[in-house]
Symmetry: C2
Subunit: 258 residues, 2 copies
Protein backbone atom coordinates (compact mmCIF):
# COMPACT_ATOMS: atom_id res chain seq x y z
CA UNK A 1 0.00 0.00 0.00
CA UNK A 2 1.45 3.37 -0.96
CA UNK A 3 1.51 6.37 1.39
CA UNK A 4 -1.35 7.94 -0.53
CA UNK A 5 -4.88 6.89 0.23
CA UNK A 6 -5.91 4.03 -2.06
CA UNK A 7 -8.51 4.82 -4.72
CA UNK A 8 -11.52 2.52 -4.27
CA UNK A 9 -14.38 2.12 -6.75
CA UNK A 10 -17.64 0.76 -5.36
CA UNK A 11 -20.49 -0.86 -7.30
CA UNK A 12 -23.33 -3.24 -6.51
CA UNK A 13 -26.46 -4.79 -8.01
CA UNK A 14 -29.14 -3.87 -5.46
CA UNK A 15 -28.98 -0.24 -6.70
CA UNK A 16 -27.48 2.92 -5.30
CA UNK A 17 -30.47 3.22 -2.94
CA UNK A 18 -29.83 -0.03 -1.03
CA UNK A 19 -28.65 -0.25 2.56
CA UNK A 20 -25.83 -2.64 1.64
CA UNK A 21 -23.98 -0.14 -0.53
CA UNK A 22 -24.42 2.63 2.08
CA UNK A 23 -22.77 0.40 4.69
CA UNK A 24 -19.96 -0.52 2.28
CA UNK A 25 -19.30 3.15 1.41
CA UNK A 26 -19.02 4.00 5.12
CA UNK A 27 -16.58 1.17 5.77
CA UNK A 28 -14.41 1.83 2.71
CA UNK A 29 -14.26 5.56 3.51
CA UNK A 30 -12.15 4.61 6.53
CA UNK A 31 -9.57 3.09 4.18
CA UNK A 32 -9.32 5.28 1.13
CA UNK A 33 -10.77 7.67 -1.42
CA UNK A 34 -14.13 6.28 -2.45
CA UNK A 35 -15.93 6.70 -5.78
CA UNK A 36 -19.34 5.09 -6.31
CA UNK A 37 -20.92 4.05 -9.61
CA UNK A 38 -24.04 1.97 -9.02
CA UNK A 39 -27.22 1.04 -10.89
CA UNK A 40 -30.25 3.31 -10.57
CA UNK A 41 -32.56 0.28 -10.41
CA UNK A 42 -32.44 -3.19 -8.91
CA UNK A 43 -30.19 -5.45 -11.02
CA UNK A 44 -30.24 -8.68 -9.03
CA UNK A 45 -29.76 -11.83 -11.07
CA UNK A 46 -28.34 -9.85 -13.99
CA UNK A 47 -25.23 -12.00 -14.14
CA UNK A 48 -22.54 -10.60 -16.39
CA UNK A 49 -25.00 -8.75 -18.62
CA UNK A 50 -23.76 -5.60 -20.36
CA UNK A 51 -25.73 -2.99 -22.26
CA UNK A 52 -25.39 -3.44 -26.01
CA UNK A 53 -27.46 -1.65 -28.62
CA UNK A 54 -28.67 1.14 -26.36
CA UNK A 55 -26.80 3.96 -24.63
CA UNK A 56 -26.28 4.56 -20.91
CA UNK A 57 -27.55 7.42 -18.79
CA UNK A 58 -25.30 8.39 -15.92
CA UNK A 59 -25.77 11.22 -13.43
CA UNK A 60 -24.07 12.53 -10.33
CA UNK A 61 -25.81 11.97 -7.00
CA UNK A 62 -25.32 13.33 -3.51
CA UNK A 63 -26.61 10.21 -1.78
CA UNK A 64 -23.39 9.68 0.16
CA UNK A 65 -22.74 13.27 1.21
CA UNK A 66 -20.46 15.95 -0.23
CA UNK A 67 -17.22 14.02 0.41
CA UNK A 68 -18.06 11.06 -1.82
CA UNK A 69 -18.08 11.30 -5.62
CA UNK A 70 -21.02 9.16 -6.66
CA UNK A 71 -22.97 8.37 -9.83
CA UNK A 72 -26.08 6.41 -10.66
CA UNK A 73 -26.15 4.53 -13.93
CA UNK A 74 -28.99 3.15 -16.05
CA UNK A 75 -26.96 0.04 -16.91
CA UNK A 76 -25.94 -3.24 -15.34
CA UNK A 77 -23.39 -3.80 -12.54
CA UNK A 78 -20.73 -4.71 -15.12
CA UNK A 79 -21.56 -1.51 -17.07
CA UNK A 80 -21.03 0.51 -13.86
CA UNK A 81 -17.49 -0.80 -13.43
CA UNK A 82 -16.66 -0.19 -17.11
CA UNK A 83 -18.03 3.35 -16.90
CA UNK A 84 -16.22 4.02 -13.62
CA UNK A 85 -12.88 2.89 -15.00
CA UNK A 86 -13.03 4.21 -18.57
CA UNK A 87 -15.00 7.42 -18.14
CA UNK A 88 -15.17 8.75 -14.57
CA UNK A 89 -11.71 7.65 -13.42
CA UNK A 90 -10.06 7.65 -16.84
CA UNK A 91 -6.29 7.93 -16.45
CA UNK A 92 -6.29 7.25 -12.70
CA UNK A 93 -5.08 3.96 -11.16
CA UNK A 94 -7.86 2.25 -9.25
CA UNK A 95 -6.37 0.28 -6.34
CA UNK A 96 -9.42 -1.77 -5.48
CA UNK A 97 -12.97 -2.42 -6.67
CA UNK A 98 -15.47 -3.63 -4.08
CA UNK A 99 -19.02 -4.66 -4.88
CA UNK A 100 -21.96 -5.06 -2.50
CA UNK A 101 -22.74 -5.57 0.22
CA UNK A 102 -25.32 -7.73 -1.51
CA UNK A 103 -28.64 -8.36 0.18
CA UNK A 104 -28.63 -12.16 -0.16
CA UNK A 105 -26.09 -14.96 -0.57
CA UNK A 106 -23.84 -15.23 -3.61
CA UNK A 107 -22.24 -18.46 -2.45
CA UNK A 108 -22.01 -21.62 -4.56
CA UNK A 109 -23.37 -21.40 -8.12
CA UNK A 110 -25.19 -18.15 -7.31
CA UNK A 111 -21.89 -16.50 -8.25
CA UNK A 112 -22.84 -17.10 -11.91
CA UNK A 113 -26.21 -15.31 -11.66
CA UNK A 114 -24.96 -12.51 -9.43
CA UNK A 115 -24.71 -8.94 -10.64
CA UNK A 116 -22.69 -8.11 -7.52
CA UNK A 117 -20.05 -10.69 -8.38
CA UNK A 118 -20.07 -9.81 -12.08
CA UNK A 119 -19.15 -6.22 -11.18
CA UNK A 120 -16.16 -7.59 -9.26
CA UNK A 121 -15.27 -10.06 -12.03
CA UNK A 122 -15.48 -7.24 -14.59
CA UNK A 123 -12.91 -5.31 -12.54
CA UNK A 124 -10.62 -8.36 -12.48
CA UNK A 125 -10.95 -8.59 -16.28
CA UNK A 126 -9.78 -4.96 -16.36
CA UNK A 127 -6.75 -5.90 -14.23
CA UNK A 128 -7.99 -4.37 -10.96
CA UNK A 129 -7.99 -6.28 -7.62
CA UNK A 130 -11.64 -6.87 -6.79
CA UNK A 131 -13.83 -8.28 -4.04
CA UNK A 132 -17.56 -8.96 -3.92
CA UNK A 133 -19.27 -8.94 -0.51
CA UNK A 134 -22.65 -10.56 0.19
CA UNK A 135 -24.77 -11.20 3.25
CA UNK A 136 -26.96 -14.31 3.58
CA UNK A 137 -30.02 -12.20 4.35
CA UNK A 138 -32.34 -10.63 1.78
CA UNK A 139 -34.25 -8.05 3.83
CA UNK A 140 -34.00 -4.39 2.84
CA UNK A 141 -33.16 -3.58 6.49
CA UNK A 142 -30.68 -6.43 6.92
CA UNK A 143 -28.19 -6.06 9.79
CA UNK A 144 -24.65 -5.71 8.41
CA UNK A 145 -23.00 -4.72 11.72
CA UNK A 146 -21.02 -7.97 12.11
CA UNK A 147 -19.38 -7.50 8.69
CA UNK A 148 -17.38 -4.32 9.41
CA UNK A 149 -14.20 -5.70 10.96
CA UNK A 150 -13.97 -8.56 8.48
CA UNK A 151 -14.35 -6.26 5.48
CA UNK A 152 -11.58 -4.00 6.78
CA UNK A 153 -9.31 -7.00 7.41
CA UNK A 154 -9.93 -8.63 4.02
CA UNK A 155 -9.45 -5.35 2.10
CA UNK A 156 -6.28 -4.55 4.01
CA UNK A 157 -4.88 -7.98 3.15
CA UNK A 158 -5.72 -7.45 -0.53
CA UNK A 159 -4.14 -3.99 -0.55
CA UNK A 160 -0.99 -5.46 1.10
CA UNK A 161 -0.70 -8.76 -0.83
CA UNK A 162 -2.39 -7.65 -4.05
CA UNK A 163 -4.29 -10.25 -6.00
CA UNK A 164 -2.91 -12.25 -8.93
CA UNK A 165 -4.19 -10.87 -12.25
CA UNK A 166 -7.65 -12.16 -13.03
CA UNK A 167 -8.50 -13.18 -9.47
CA UNK A 168 -11.61 -12.02 -7.61
CA UNK A 169 -12.69 -12.85 -4.07
CA UNK A 170 -16.26 -13.98 -3.47
CA UNK A 171 -16.89 -13.15 0.21
CA UNK A 172 -20.13 -14.22 1.91
CA UNK A 173 -21.25 -13.47 5.46
CA UNK A 174 -23.69 -15.54 7.53
CA UNK A 175 -26.79 -13.58 8.53
CA UNK A 176 -26.45 -11.77 11.88
CA UNK A 177 -27.39 -13.98 14.81
CA UNK A 178 -26.86 -14.03 18.55
CA UNK A 179 -23.81 -16.25 18.08
CA UNK A 180 -20.60 -14.43 17.06
CA UNK A 181 -18.91 -15.37 13.78
CA UNK A 182 -16.18 -18.02 14.16
CA UNK A 183 -13.73 -16.42 11.69
CA UNK A 184 -12.89 -16.77 7.99
CA UNK A 185 -12.59 -19.89 5.84
CA UNK A 186 -11.08 -19.94 2.35
CA UNK A 187 -13.23 -22.46 0.51
CA UNK A 188 -14.26 -23.81 -2.87
CA UNK A 189 -17.48 -22.92 -4.73
CA UNK A 190 -20.00 -25.56 -3.64
CA UNK A 191 -21.24 -27.60 -6.58
CA UNK A 192 -24.87 -27.22 -5.56
CA UNK A 193 -27.94 -27.37 -7.80
CA UNK A 194 -31.10 -25.27 -7.89
CA UNK A 195 -34.08 -27.65 -7.84
CA UNK A 196 -36.45 -25.41 -9.74
CA UNK A 197 -40.05 -25.44 -10.77
CA UNK A 198 -42.43 -23.03 -12.49
CA UNK A 199 -45.79 -22.07 -11.07
CA UNK A 200 -48.37 -21.33 -13.75
CA UNK A 201 -50.97 -18.62 -13.07
CA UNK A 202 -53.62 -16.95 -15.20
CA UNK A 203 -53.82 -13.20 -15.66
CA UNK A 204 -57.24 -11.45 -15.57
CA UNK A 205 -57.53 -12.06 -19.33
CA UNK A 206 -57.03 -15.83 -19.05
CA UNK A 207 -53.44 -15.83 -20.34
CA UNK A 208 -50.76 -17.89 -18.59
CA UNK A 209 -47.69 -16.54 -16.90
CA UNK A 210 -45.04 -18.39 -14.91
CA UNK A 211 -43.17 -17.72 -11.67
CA UNK A 212 -39.85 -19.48 -11.25
CA UNK A 213 -39.16 -20.87 -7.78
CA UNK A 214 -36.71 -23.35 -6.34
CA UNK A 215 -34.24 -24.33 -3.66
CA UNK A 216 -30.48 -24.62 -3.66
CA UNK A 217 -29.42 -28.15 -2.71
CA UNK A 218 -25.80 -28.95 -1.95
CA UNK A 219 -24.74 -32.24 -3.54
CA UNK A 220 -21.02 -31.46 -3.23
CA UNK A 221 -19.10 -34.31 -1.56
CA UNK A 222 -16.19 -32.01 -0.70
CA UNK A 223 -16.70 -30.52 2.76
CA UNK A 224 -14.51 -27.46 2.23
CA UNK A 225 -17.20 -25.55 0.34
CA UNK A 226 -18.45 -22.04 0.88
CA UNK A 227 -21.86 -23.41 1.86
CA UNK A 228 -20.26 -25.61 4.54
CA UNK A 229 -18.30 -22.64 5.93
CA UNK A 230 -21.40 -20.43 6.06
CA UNK A 231 -23.59 -23.05 7.72
CA UNK A 232 -20.83 -23.44 10.33
CA UNK A 233 -21.03 -19.64 10.96
CA UNK A 234 -17.75 -18.75 9.23
CA UNK A 235 -17.24 -15.98 6.68
CA UNK A 236 -16.49 -17.76 3.39
CA UNK A 237 -13.98 -16.56 0.79
CA UNK A 238 -13.77 -18.27 -2.59
CA UNK A 239 -10.93 -17.14 -4.88
CA UNK A 240 -12.46 -17.12 -8.36
CA UNK A 241 -11.14 -16.68 -11.87
CA UNK A 242 -12.78 -15.75 -15.15
CA UNK A 243 -10.74 -18.12 -17.30
CA UNK A 244 -13.41 -20.80 -17.74
CA UNK A 245 -11.12 -23.19 -19.66
CA UNK A 246 -11.15 -26.73 -18.28
CA UNK A 247 -7.46 -27.50 -18.86
CA UNK A 248 -7.71 -31.17 -17.83
CA UNK A 249 -10.50 -31.71 -20.34
CA UNK A 250 -8.57 -29.79 -22.99
CA UNK A 251 -5.89 -32.52 -22.79
CA UNK A 252 -8.43 -35.36 -22.76
CA UNK A 253 -10.23 -34.04 -25.82
CA UNK A 254 -7.10 -34.57 -27.92
CA UNK A 255 -8.24 -38.22 -28.20
CA UNK A 256 -11.56 -37.22 -29.82
CA UNK A 257 -12.09 -37.83 -33.51
CA UNK A 258 -12.47 -34.21 -34.58
Amino acid sequence: MSQEKPLILIANDDSIYSKGIRVLVEIMSEMGEVVVVAPDTHQSGMGHAITLGSPLRVSKTSDFGPQILSYKCSGTPADCVKFGKHQILKGRKIDLVVSGINHGSNASISVLYSGTMSAAIEAAMEGIPAIGFSLCEFGADADFSHCHDYIIKICQQVLVHGLPKGLTLNVNFPAKSEVPLKGIKVAKQANAVYREFFEERKDPYGQSYYWMDGNLENDDLNNNTDLDALSDNFVSIVPIKYDLTDYAELELMKSWDL
Copy 2:
Protein backbone atom coordinates in the same frame (compact mmCIF):
# COMPACT_ATOMS: atom_id res chain seq x y z
CA MET B 1 -26.24 -43.07 -28.23
CA SER B 2 -29.32 -45.20 -27.63
CA GLN B 3 -31.42 -46.64 -30.47
CA GLU B 4 -34.06 -43.99 -29.89
CA LYS B 5 -33.61 -40.57 -31.41
CA PRO B 6 -31.85 -38.27 -28.94
CA LEU B 7 -33.92 -35.47 -27.41
CA ILE B 8 -32.29 -32.13 -28.20
CA LEU B 9 -33.26 -28.78 -26.64
CA ILE B 10 -32.28 -25.67 -28.61
CA ALA B 11 -31.94 -22.13 -27.25
CA ASN B 12 -30.10 -18.98 -28.30
CA ASP B 13 -29.79 -15.28 -27.47
CA ASP B 14 -30.45 -13.62 -30.83
CA SER B 15 -34.16 -14.52 -30.46
CA ILE B 16 -36.36 -17.15 -32.04
CA TYR B 17 -36.59 -14.97 -35.17
CA SER B 18 -32.87 -15.07 -36.03
CA LYS B 19 -31.36 -16.92 -38.95
CA GLY B 20 -28.78 -18.66 -36.72
CA ILE B 21 -31.37 -20.63 -34.74
CA ARG B 22 -33.26 -21.58 -37.92
CA VAL B 23 -30.06 -23.06 -39.33
CA LEU B 24 -29.32 -24.89 -36.07
CA VAL B 25 -32.85 -26.35 -35.90
CA GLU B 26 -32.49 -27.67 -39.45
CA ILE B 27 -29.15 -29.29 -38.70
CA MET B 28 -30.20 -30.82 -35.37
CA SER B 29 -33.40 -32.19 -36.91
CA GLU B 30 -31.17 -34.56 -38.88
CA MET B 31 -29.90 -36.00 -35.59
CA GLY B 32 -32.80 -36.20 -33.19
CA GLU B 33 -36.09 -34.95 -31.78
CA VAL B 34 -35.81 -31.18 -31.51
CA VAL B 35 -37.57 -28.87 -29.05
CA VAL B 36 -36.94 -25.12 -29.21
CA VAL B 37 -37.28 -22.59 -26.36
CA ALA B 38 -35.85 -19.23 -27.35
CA PRO B 39 -36.20 -15.58 -26.33
CA ASP B 40 -38.88 -13.48 -28.05
CA THR B 41 -36.51 -10.49 -28.19
CA HIS B 42 -32.80 -9.95 -28.77
CA GLN B 43 -30.84 -10.93 -25.64
CA SER B 44 -27.25 -10.42 -26.76
CA GLY B 45 -24.82 -9.50 -24.00
CA MET B 46 -27.22 -10.72 -21.33
CA GLY B 47 -24.59 -12.98 -19.78
CA HIS B 48 -25.99 -15.38 -17.22
CA ALA B 49 -28.91 -13.10 -16.31
CA ILE B 50 -32.08 -14.77 -15.03
CA THR B 51 -35.50 -13.25 -14.47
CA LEU B 52 -36.11 -12.59 -10.78
CA GLY B 53 -38.99 -10.57 -9.36
CA SER B 54 -41.17 -10.76 -12.44
CA PRO B 55 -42.89 -13.70 -14.15
CA LEU B 56 -42.25 -15.18 -17.57
CA ARG B 57 -44.56 -15.30 -20.56
CA VAL B 58 -44.13 -18.34 -22.79
CA SER B 59 -46.13 -19.26 -25.88
CA LYS B 60 -46.06 -21.92 -28.56
CA THR B 61 -44.94 -20.90 -32.02
CA SER B 62 -45.10 -22.53 -35.42
CA ASP B 63 -41.94 -20.83 -36.69
CA PHE B 64 -40.19 -24.12 -37.42
CA GLY B 65 -43.09 -25.96 -39.03
CA PRO B 66 -45.51 -28.55 -37.64
CA GLN B 67 -42.82 -31.17 -36.83
CA ILE B 68 -40.93 -29.03 -34.33
CA LEU B 69 -42.27 -28.23 -30.87
CA SER B 70 -41.19 -24.63 -30.28
CA TYR B 71 -41.82 -21.88 -27.75
CA LYS B 72 -40.90 -18.23 -27.45
CA CYS B 73 -40.14 -16.89 -24.00
CA SER B 74 -40.07 -13.36 -22.57
CA GLY B 75 -37.00 -14.17 -20.46
CA THR B 76 -33.26 -14.54 -20.88
CA PRO B 77 -31.38 -17.37 -22.58
CA ALA B 78 -30.73 -19.04 -19.19
CA ASP B 79 -34.46 -18.74 -18.37
CA CYS B 80 -35.28 -20.51 -21.65
CA VAL B 81 -33.18 -23.54 -20.69
CA LYS B 82 -34.64 -23.65 -17.17
CA PHE B 83 -38.18 -23.44 -18.57
CA GLY B 84 -37.45 -26.06 -21.22
CA LYS B 85 -36.09 -28.54 -18.71
CA HIS B 86 -38.40 -27.96 -15.74
CA GLN B 87 -41.69 -27.14 -17.46
CA ILE B 88 -41.91 -28.17 -21.11
CA LEU B 89 -39.80 -31.35 -20.91
CA LYS B 90 -40.46 -32.10 -17.24
CA GLY B 91 -39.81 -35.78 -16.57
CA ARG B 92 -38.05 -36.43 -19.88
CA LYS B 93 -34.30 -36.98 -20.20
CA ILE B 94 -32.72 -34.33 -22.43
CA ASP B 95 -29.72 -35.81 -24.25
CA LEU B 96 -28.19 -32.57 -25.48
CA VAL B 97 -28.70 -28.81 -25.27
CA VAL B 98 -27.35 -26.73 -28.15
CA SER B 99 -27.38 -22.95 -28.21
CA GLY B 100 -26.96 -20.62 -31.18
CA ILE B 101 -25.83 -20.38 -33.83
CA ASN B 102 -24.88 -16.98 -32.51
CA HIS B 103 -24.49 -14.08 -34.92
CA GLY B 104 -21.06 -12.93 -33.71
CA SER B 105 -18.03 -14.39 -31.96
CA ASN B 106 -18.19 -15.73 -28.42
CA ALA B 107 -14.50 -16.56 -28.28
CA SER B 108 -12.13 -15.39 -25.55
CA ILE B 109 -13.68 -13.38 -22.70
CA SER B 110 -16.86 -12.80 -24.72
CA VAL B 111 -17.96 -16.14 -23.24
CA LEU B 112 -18.70 -14.26 -19.99
CA TYR B 113 -21.00 -11.69 -21.63
CA SER B 114 -22.68 -14.15 -23.96
CA GLY B 115 -26.31 -15.13 -23.56
CA THR B 116 -25.74 -17.95 -26.05
CA MET B 117 -23.02 -19.48 -23.90
CA SER B 118 -24.93 -18.88 -20.66
CA ALA B 119 -27.81 -20.95 -22.05
CA ALA B 120 -25.34 -23.78 -22.64
CA ILE B 121 -23.67 -23.29 -19.25
CA GLU B 122 -27.08 -23.31 -17.56
CA ALA B 123 -27.72 -26.72 -19.15
CA ALA B 124 -24.38 -27.99 -17.84
CA MET B 125 -25.36 -26.75 -14.35
CA GLU B 126 -28.51 -28.87 -14.74
CA GLY B 127 -26.37 -31.90 -15.62
CA ILE B 128 -27.09 -31.93 -19.37
CA PRO B 129 -24.33 -32.13 -22.04
CA ALA B 130 -24.32 -28.76 -23.75
CA ILE B 131 -22.67 -26.94 -26.63
CA GLY B 132 -22.78 -23.30 -27.70
CA PHE B 133 -22.17 -22.50 -31.37
CA SER B 134 -21.17 -19.05 -32.65
CA LEU B 135 -20.13 -17.58 -35.98
CA CYS B 136 -17.61 -14.73 -36.20
CA GLU B 137 -20.00 -12.64 -38.31
CA PHE B 138 -22.70 -10.35 -36.95
CA GLY B 139 -24.89 -9.78 -40.00
CA ALA B 140 -28.55 -10.83 -39.84
CA ASP B 141 -28.05 -12.65 -43.18
CA ALA B 142 -24.74 -14.25 -42.20
CA ASP B 143 -23.70 -17.32 -44.20
CA PHE B 144 -23.67 -20.41 -41.95
CA SER B 145 -23.28 -22.97 -44.77
CA HIS B 146 -19.72 -23.98 -43.82
CA CYS B 147 -20.82 -24.88 -40.25
CA HIS B 148 -23.13 -27.82 -41.08
CA ASP B 149 -20.71 -30.74 -41.26
CA TYR B 150 -18.73 -29.55 -38.22
CA ILE B 151 -21.84 -29.19 -36.08
CA ILE B 152 -22.96 -32.72 -37.00
CA LYS B 153 -19.50 -34.10 -36.22
CA ILE B 154 -19.13 -32.31 -32.89
CA CYS B 155 -22.63 -33.23 -31.71
CA GLN B 156 -22.13 -36.87 -32.73
CA GLN B 157 -18.89 -36.97 -30.75
CA VAL B 158 -20.65 -35.53 -27.68
CA LEU B 159 -23.54 -37.98 -28.00
CA VAL B 160 -21.02 -40.85 -28.27
CA HIS B 161 -18.45 -39.75 -25.65
CA GLY B 162 -20.81 -37.79 -23.40
CA LEU B 163 -19.36 -34.81 -21.55
CA PRO B 164 -18.07 -34.85 -17.97
CA LYS B 165 -20.61 -33.32 -15.58
CA GLY B 166 -20.35 -29.53 -15.57
CA LEU B 167 -18.56 -29.27 -18.90
CA THR B 168 -19.76 -27.13 -21.82
CA LEU B 169 -18.17 -26.69 -25.24
CA ASN B 170 -17.71 -23.18 -26.60
CA VAL B 171 -17.52 -23.66 -30.38
CA ASN B 172 -16.72 -20.71 -32.66
CA PHE B 173 -16.61 -20.70 -36.47
CA PRO B 174 -14.59 -18.30 -38.63
CA ALA B 175 -16.78 -16.21 -40.92
CA LYS B 176 -17.40 -17.79 -44.34
CA SER B 177 -14.69 -16.95 -46.83
CA GLU B 178 -13.42 -18.28 -50.14
CA VAL B 179 -10.83 -20.38 -48.30
CA PRO B 180 -12.14 -23.64 -46.82
CA LEU B 181 -11.87 -24.21 -43.06
CA LYS B 182 -8.72 -26.08 -42.00
CA GLY B 183 -10.40 -28.26 -39.36
CA ILE B 184 -11.00 -28.11 -35.60
CA LYS B 185 -8.66 -27.00 -32.81
CA VAL B 186 -9.33 -27.62 -29.12
CA ALA B 187 -7.99 -24.48 -27.47
CA LYS B 188 -7.93 -22.36 -24.32
CA GLN B 189 -10.00 -19.22 -23.76
CA ALA B 190 -7.77 -16.35 -24.91
CA ASN B 191 -6.98 -13.95 -22.10
CA ALA B 192 -7.83 -10.90 -24.20
CA VAL B 193 -9.00 -7.49 -22.98
CA TYR B 194 -11.65 -5.14 -24.31
CA ARG B 195 -10.05 -1.70 -24.71
CA GLU B 196 -13.19 0.31 -24.15
CA PHE B 197 -14.27 3.90 -24.26
CA PHE B 198 -17.52 5.82 -23.90
CA GLU B 199 -18.70 8.35 -26.45
CA GLU B 200 -20.76 11.13 -24.89
CA ARG B 201 -23.62 12.62 -26.90
CA LYS B 202 -26.37 15.11 -26.09
CA ASP B 203 -30.05 14.32 -26.58
CA PRO B 204 -32.38 16.99 -28.10
CA TYR B 205 -32.98 18.30 -24.54
CA GLY B 206 -29.29 18.85 -23.78
CA GLN B 207 -28.89 15.81 -21.55
CA SER B 208 -25.89 13.49 -21.90
CA TYR B 209 -26.00 9.85 -22.86
CA TYR B 210 -23.11 7.47 -23.49
CA TRP B 211 -22.38 4.80 -26.09
CA MET B 212 -19.91 2.11 -25.10
CA ASP B 213 -17.44 1.10 -27.78
CA GLY B 214 -14.19 -0.80 -27.84
CA ASN B 215 -11.96 -3.44 -29.38
CA LEU B 216 -10.88 -6.85 -28.20
CA GLU B 217 -7.09 -7.06 -27.96
CA ASN B 218 -5.35 -10.36 -27.44
CA ASP B 219 -2.53 -10.05 -24.89
CA ASP B 220 -2.37 -13.81 -24.27
CA LEU B 221 1.17 -15.16 -24.60
CA ASN B 222 -0.08 -18.72 -25.05
CA ASN B 223 -0.57 -19.45 -28.75
CA ASN B 224 -3.10 -22.25 -28.33
CA THR B 225 -6.00 -19.85 -27.78
CA ASP B 226 -9.39 -19.83 -29.45
CA LEU B 227 -8.54 -16.48 -31.07
CA ASP B 228 -5.37 -17.95 -32.56
CA ALA B 229 -7.30 -20.93 -33.94
CA LEU B 230 -9.98 -18.70 -35.48
CA SER B 231 -7.52 -16.29 -37.08
CA ASP B 232 -5.80 -19.35 -38.61
CA ASN B 233 -9.18 -20.38 -40.12
CA PHE B 234 -9.82 -23.31 -37.73
CA VAL B 235 -13.05 -23.99 -35.85
CA SER B 236 -12.20 -23.43 -32.16
CA ILE B 237 -13.56 -25.53 -29.30
CA VAL B 238 -12.91 -24.46 -25.70
CA PRO B 239 -14.03 -26.92 -22.99
CA ILE B 240 -15.39 -24.70 -20.22
CA LYS B 241 -16.57 -25.27 -16.67
CA TYR B 242 -18.74 -23.25 -14.33
CA ASP B 243 -16.75 -24.00 -11.18
CA LEU B 244 -14.95 -20.66 -10.96
CA THR B 245 -12.81 -21.67 -7.95
CA ASP B 246 -9.11 -20.95 -8.44
CA TYR B 247 -7.77 -24.04 -6.65
CA ALA B 248 -4.11 -23.00 -6.85
CA GLU B 249 -4.94 -19.66 -5.23
CA LEU B 250 -7.09 -21.42 -2.61
CA GLU B 251 -3.92 -23.17 -1.40
CA LEU B 252 -1.80 -20.00 -1.53
CA MET B 253 -4.31 -17.99 0.49
CA LYS B 254 -3.76 -20.28 3.47
CA SER B 255 -0.69 -18.12 4.22
CA TRP B 256 -2.81 -14.96 4.52
CA ASP B 257 -3.46 -13.44 7.95
CA LEU B 258 -7.22 -13.91 8.00
